[in-house]
């Protein structure tokens, strides 16, 4: 029998955390569970593994790239058009710091922003598993389970205080 997805909707964090614990006990692994909420709920509260993110690494990479670009603009391009004025340096250090700083920050911020898009797969306009109640503050637990055990999972979720438990499928948001 193929796996299918069930959505259990909870009002509060506590029963949602208990439900996840119960799912673990019933053999559903973390990679088959997805929690969706209208406010950020930490993984520790729900007893879930720490979600990884590449945003910090991308920000750092962007900062390094921006530093190099700023240095190139400041210490590289002037040699393409060396304008000697009053014996002054073509590439003085102090004013160059300003350009390098701005480029470092600009690239870091741009790569941070792009990092959110890349890591979250934004924009994503395909049909997705979702219910509008989530943005009303409910916590939704989506989990995959063997279809023949549906009744067992529905009962377990209902006993833990789920507002509704229903099979779900992807829809246009």
């Amino acid at each position: 029998m193929p796996d299918t997805t069930l959505l259990a909707l909870f009002e509060d964090i506590d029963p949602a955390a208990d439900a996840i614990e119960k799912l673990h006990e019933m053999g559903v692994t973390d990679d088959r569970i997805n929690v969706i909420s209208g406010v950020p709920v930490t993984h520790k509260m729900l007893g879930r593994p720490h979600p990884s993110t590449n945003v910090s690494r991308l920000a750092l990479g962007g900062a390094v790239a921006g530093f190099c670009f700023g240095a190139f603009l400041n210490y590289g391009t002037p040699y393409l058009y060396p304008v000697l004025v009053g014996g002054q340096y073509i590439t003085p250090v102090p004013p160059g710091m300003i350009l390098i700083f701005e480029m470092t920050m600009l690239f870091a911020l741009l790569s941070t922003f792009l990092g959110v898009f890349l890591d979250s797969y934004f924009p994503n306009y395909r049909p997705l598993e979702y219910v509008p109640e989530i943005s009303d503050g409910k916590i939704g637990i989506f989990f995959k389970y063997p279809l023949e055990e549906q009744e067992k999972f529905v009962d377990a979720m209902n006993q833990l205080g789920a507002e509704s438990v229903r099979p779900t499928e992807a829809q246009q948001l």
């Binding site: 997805n34 929690v35 969706i36 909420s37 209208g38 406010v39 950020p40 709920v41 930490t42 993984h43 509260m45 879930r48 979600p51 990884s52 993110t53 945003v55 910090s56 920000a59 603009l73 400041n74 391009t77 002037p78 393409l80 058009y81 304008v83 003085p92 004013p95 160059g96 300003i98 350009l99 700083f101 701005e102 480029m103 920050m105 600009l106 870091a108 911020l109 741009l110 941070t112 922003f113 990092g115 959110v116 898009f117 890591d119 979250s120 797969y121 934004f122 924009p123 994503n124 306009y125 395909r126 997705l128 979702y130 509008p132 989530i134 943005s135 009303d136 503050g137 948001l173």
Partner: protein, 481 residues
């Protein structure tokens, strides 16, 4: 709630008032509503428009069409000769407006980033209103620079693009630093506005129909609120909050260097950087007070989200910024005054006794005296209209300050035979145009995006609770992160 009503009624005077206690349930964080209800309140405030709204919208649109679009077109077609800028005041109101709007833009970053980093909870309901000021203010600042360029179609000469005419940007010029810093700030603050907006756009998407649904669906990018999405978003917002602060400081410092790097009376000052940053915060805070007061007065349900506590906290910030600004103002003034330079003395006498002295004294009154003497009072701070009035006066004073710094200080130079007072011409219309465009953008945004970050308010309410200690309940804040 008996204690609360007594507290706010102000009926009891004298010794007893010292012992009155603030009921924490008067605070937004301790007065939670279900998320669905808060969503509905914000959506209703966004969707509701009266005929008054459209009248104001129409007037602003007319002013933008005539004073911004037509006047700028006229300037482009006829050249800078139709403006009042001429020797010795080559920098006129265009640059005054640029500095003023960049100053206004500092409020958003300060409130959103610094208060987020410091975990100041009162920031939650009005971060977006302040962030919008940053983005819209920077648009006006950019437009003012392009107006000042005159031949605006040649703006690309500022970019390091190899070309046959061998015109290269000079990266050692403060004007070039301006371009880079303002570009970084515009892009950074716009992204910083957008990131925390995504969950609220998703909320609006779930509650709208028709063209609004399509609009919110596109902007929400498919956000659902998964653990991963929240993690990426929060990591990015933390990075932005820390990174945008030095960018904010750099922008107005660099703007000050446009002046301070020149050996001119009144301009050549080592404290111009921090003095400008404080001035920017001063005007920005004042502008936020005005906007919040108008939001509360004109939009539905805003009295739930924007309370006396928020105006009180904003008033305290304004008071602190007033002191800091006063310190730098006096520091700048006294050092120049003591310097004994002949031309600086002439400039200072011009400010005190010349034809623009009224502007100088209004600056002292509006920027220093009025906020410093009034914001001590809690009742004044908690009165939205009074705080907005003080904020408005601060902005009038700050505009005069920039006017004195740009065209007036250019007038009094080391060549007295060139002294000639600057008289703005088409600049007056263009100034009205930029102010109208700013207000028009704000008015449009108030009906197109949720001005209250509902998810941030709910997150705050989840972390706040009243804990029973002995015979009383004490406010308690938890750390979720």
């Amino acid at each position: 709630m008996a204690v609360t009503s007594k507290y706010f009624s102000g009926a009891e005077k004298g010794h007893e008032t010292e012992h009155e206690e603030h009921d924490p349930r008067e605070s937004l964080m301790y007065d939670p509503k279900p998320r669905g209800e808060m969503n509905a309140m914000v959506m209703e405030s966004m969707m509701t428009t009266s005929w008054k709204f459209w009248v104001v919208f129409g007037i602003l649109a007319f002013l933008v069409a005539t004073c911004f679009i037509y006047a700028w077109g006229y300037l482009i077609a006829n050249g800078l000769g139709v403006a009042g800028v001429m020797r010795p005041s080559y920098w006129g109101i265009f640059l005054v407006n640029t500095v003023f709007w960049i100053g206004i833009s500092h409020a958003g970053t300060f409130i959103s980033a610094i208060l987020r980093v410091m975990k100041a909870e009162f920031r939650r309901p009005f971060t977006r209103a302040a962030e919008l000021m940053t983005t819209f203010g920077l648009i006006q600042a950019g437009a003012s620079i392009f107006m000042h360029l005159g031949r605006v179609w040649l703006a690309y000469w500022l970019f390091p693009i190899p070309n046959e005419r061998q015109i290269w940007p000079n990266f050692h010029s403060p004007l070039m630093w301006d371009l880079l810093a303002i570009t970084t700030y515009v892009l950074g603050s716009t992204m910083y506005l957008f990131l925390p907006l995504i969950p609220d756009l998703a909320m609006a998407r779930d509650r709208s129909t028709g063209w609004r649904k399509t609009f919110f669906k596109i902007l929400a990018l498919g956000f659902r609120g998964t653990e991963g999405e929240w993690r990426h978003l929060q990591t990015a917002m933390n990075i932005f909050a820390f990174a945008i602060i030095p960018v904010m400081f750099s922008v107005h410092t660099i703007v000050s260097w446009d002046f301070a790097m020149a050996m001119r009376p009144g301009w050549s000052s080592t404290v111009f950087g921090p003095y400008f940053v404080l001035g920017a915060l001063h005007s920005g805070m004042g502008a936020v007070a005005v906007v919040l007061c108008l939001m509360r007065a004109t939009m539905k349900h805003m009295d739930y989200f924007l309370r006396k506590e928020h105006f009180d906290a904003l008033g305290k910030l304004m008071l602190i910024v007033t002191f800091a600004y006063t310190y730098f103002f006096f520091n700048d003034y006294i050092v120049q005054w003591y310097g004994g330079d002949k031309w600086t003395d002439a400039l200072l006498h011009w400010l005190e006794e010349g034809p623009m002295a009224w502007m100088f004294y209004q600056l002292l009154l509006f920027n220093l005296a009025i906020p410093a003497l009034t914001l001590w009072n809690k009742k004044i701070r908690q009165n939205p209209w009074l705080l907005a009035l003080i904020g408005f006066l601060i902005n009038v004073g700050m505009y005069w300050e920039r006017y004195l710094i740009v065209p007036v200080m250019l007038t009094i130079n080391r060549m007295p035979f060139t002294w000639k007072l600057y008289s703005p011409r088409i600049e007056i219309f263009l100034t009205i145009g930029t102010f109208s465009l700013f207000l028009l953008f704000y008015l449009a945004a108030s009906r197109l995006i949720p001005l209250i970050p509902v998810w941030e308010v709910q997150e705050g309410q989840m972390t706040h609770s009243l804990r029973k200690v002995g015979k009383t309940h004490v406010p308690t804040v938890s750390e979720f992160e």
